[in-house]
């Protein structure tokens, strides 16, 4: 589904992403783990065609993202790290807007997101101004907005930051279902416990890949009990965040 070869991104002389080689399969939940500034967002942005790599290639579904970023965008949903819905619009108006700019009908969008809305218990919040929603519901609405066009590929940049533990569990439940329905989910997080929900994780530090693999296997091979311990072992205590 997604493949990168020697992916690099520099900002001036600073290397934010350093020689990343990835292979992500269909219907996989792939997690980028790392402390703030590790390069997760930069990587995700490049995979989406939002940011041009300094060097290296990215192919998504056989398409070169660097050469034709616009072609890839139709098949992906993206939820950026920063909350980015229109606060002065109602929930429903945000949904209608994103449906509109993806060029699909509201009827089609409604079938795409109906189950999600009821699962997220969003119905009664859709009439409210988005800025007035509690944080957890803002995040849920953001996710629904990213899924109006039913994309096969979903990018979620720290979707659970600032969300309470219960809402986080619910969020991951939905992510699981998305993958179950055949969507590829690429998610970044700095919560190490969330790594357990991923099929595979890539631990990043200073733009480089530290380890990559299935969480269970990684824990076994490094002889640790939790991902948190693995991260501490790799990154050193001062970089860790919980």
């Amino acid at each position: 589904m997604i493949e990168t070869i020697n992916l690099n991104r520099k900002f001036g002389s600073f290397t934010a992403v350093d020689n990343l080689n990835l292979k992500i399969d269909k219907a996989e939940i792939f997690g980028f783990l790392g402390a703030n500034g590790a390069g997760k967002t930069t990587t995700l942005r490049m995979l989406c065609g939002l940011l041009t790599p300094t060097s290296g290639t990215i192919t998504v579904n056989g398409l070169n993202v660097v050469k034709n970023p616009e072609a890839v965008k139709r098949s992906l949903g993206y939820m950026s790290q920063k909350f980015s819905l229109y606060g002065d619009l109602r929930g429903i108006e945000n949904l209608q807007f994103y449906t509109g700019i993806y060029g699909i009908s509201w009827t089609a969008a409604k079938t795409n997101i109906k189950s999600l809305i009821s699962q997220f218990d969003l119905d009664k919040y859709l009439k409210l101004k988005t800025s007035e929603l509690p944080m957890g519901y803002k995040q849920r609405l953001s996710l629904v907005c990213a899924l109006v066009h039913n994309p096969p590929l979903v990018f979620l940049d720290e979707p659970t930051s600032g969300v309470d533990p219960k809402a986080r569990r619910e969020f991951w439940q939905v992510i699981n279902e998305l993958a179950y329905r055949g969507k590829t989910v690429i998610v970044s997080t700095h919560f190490m416990d969330e790594a357990e929900y991923c099929n595979r994780v890539l631990i990043m530090q200073a733009g480089r890949e530290e380890v990559c693999g299935n969480p269970l296997q990684l824990k076994q091979s490094h002889r640790v009990a939790t991902m948190q311990q693995l991260f501490l072992k790799i990154a050193g205590a001062d970089n860790a965040q919980s």
């Binding site: 970023p69 616009e70 920063k82 606060g87 509109g100 700019i101």
Partner: protein
């Protein structure tokens, strides 16, 4: 069809956001009205204590009483002058706003030898108050001559004789008046609403992070730009109707030329200002920066447009710069249409300039707009 729907949903969203932002609505509709009223009335307001000097080469009884007649009103403050000074110099050094020259033989001429002549020179830098001051001076002189007519001295000023006034503006030969300033204000308004607001609006999306969500969508960059600019195009044209209407109702300025021609020119001009708006927004990171740069740009554009000082009175180098200022040409056009009633054929040079300006600026801005983050 689909692409039209994409555009429509974008425009709908923009209008929804505008409708919910009281500050934006105030900027859009209250500010222009206030601007027009304040600036318009500042123009028509009374002028008091205008510094006036007299060069009395006649030194007669009559010339003294003429000067005296000016001191009886608080409109003027008489600045004494010495023989050595020169009228133009007085104006240049801002010692005086208006200079009246009474030639030798003035009294004699008034007794029927010849047509009496008075010369009035005023500082035209501030065209509006100069126009008023001028009007007051002329009024004063007229009243003086009427008083003379009614006086008992039978030899003074026969009825048909009249008085010749040579009125001259220094620094500003084609005097601007209300009729010129109001169309100018409208031109400025159009510039502000389109350029400043479109720049801020796009920068706002950047600042809030919503732009990223738009950039990652498959919507074409032309749709994005069109969706962002179309509302401001519509609003600016609407504002213009309001301004033209207000100018008519409050200042009794009616459009001498054709309304559709005015709209056509405004539409063409808006491509330049909206283009500048996107250009600014692509190069800033926050609304504040967008505000700063667009206001700065606007001030420069206004100063170099002939709004305050006519372009032909500027130094040659500055005139050259003014030529590349689209507002210069739009201001000319709007004044020509409102005041003189010029038609499209008469304005074809400006049409060509504004069309190519819009094409270049808008085209360049569009090309330099990237659907990428930095």
């Amino acid at each position: 069809m689909t692409s039209l729907k994409v555009l429509a949903s974008f425009v709908l969203k923009e209008f929804r956001q505008l409708a919910r932002s009281p500050e934006m609505l105030a900027v859009l509709f209250l500010l222009p009205a206030i601007q027009l009223l304040v600036m318009g009335f500042a123009v028509t307001n009374e002028v008091k204590n205008v510094d006036i000097s007299f060069f009395d080469y006649d030194k007669s009884h009559l010339s003294k009483s003429l000067i005296e007649s000016f001191s009886s009103t608080d409109r003027f403050r008489i600045v004494p002058v010495s023989e050595a000074e020169h009228p133009e110099e007085l104006l240049f050094k801002w010692k005086s706003k208006v200079v009246v020259v009474i030639p030798a033989g003035f009294e004699r001429d008034c007794h029927g030898f010849a047509k009496p002549v008075l010369q009035v020179i005023s500082d035209g830098i501030d065209g509006n108050s100069a126009a008023l001051a001028n009007a007051y001076v002329q009024g004063c002189i007229l009243r003086f001559s009427q008083v003379m007519l009614q006086s008992r001295d039978p030899g003074l000023m026969k009825k048909d004789q009249g008085l010749d006034l040579i009125v001259r503006m220094s620094f500003n030969n084609d005097l601007k008046s209300n009729l010129n300033i109001i169309p100018g204000i409208i031109a400025v308004l159009v510039t502000v609403s389109s350029m400043v607001l479109s720049a801020i609006s796009l920068a706002k999306e950047k600042e809030l992070g919503t732009l990223e969500q738009l950039l990652v969508s498959p919507m074409h960059k032309y749709q994005l730009v069109a969706g962002k600019l179309l509302p401001y195009l519509i609003i600016t044209l609407l504002q213009m109707q309001v301004a033209v209407l207000l100018a008519g109702i409050i200042f009794r300025i009616s459009l001498a030329g054709s309304y559709p021609v005015l709209m056509l020119f405004s539409l063409i001009y808006l491509f330049t200002t909206l283009g500048l708006g996107i250009f600014i927004s692509t190069r800033v990171n926050s609304q504040q920066q967008a505000m700063f740069f667009s206001w700065f740009m606007m001030v420069v554009m206004i100063l170099l447009s002939g709004f305050f000082v006519p372009v032909q009175n500027m130094p040659k180098v500055i005139r050259g710069i003014c030529f590349f200022n689209p507002l210069t040409h739009y201001m000319t056009v709007i004044r020509e249409i409102v005041v003189k009633g010029s038609n499209l054929a008469q304005l074809r040079k400006e049409l060509l300039i504004l069309l190519s300006g819009g094409f270049i600026v808008f085209g360049f801005s569009l090309l330099s707009f990237r659907k990428r983050v930095k």
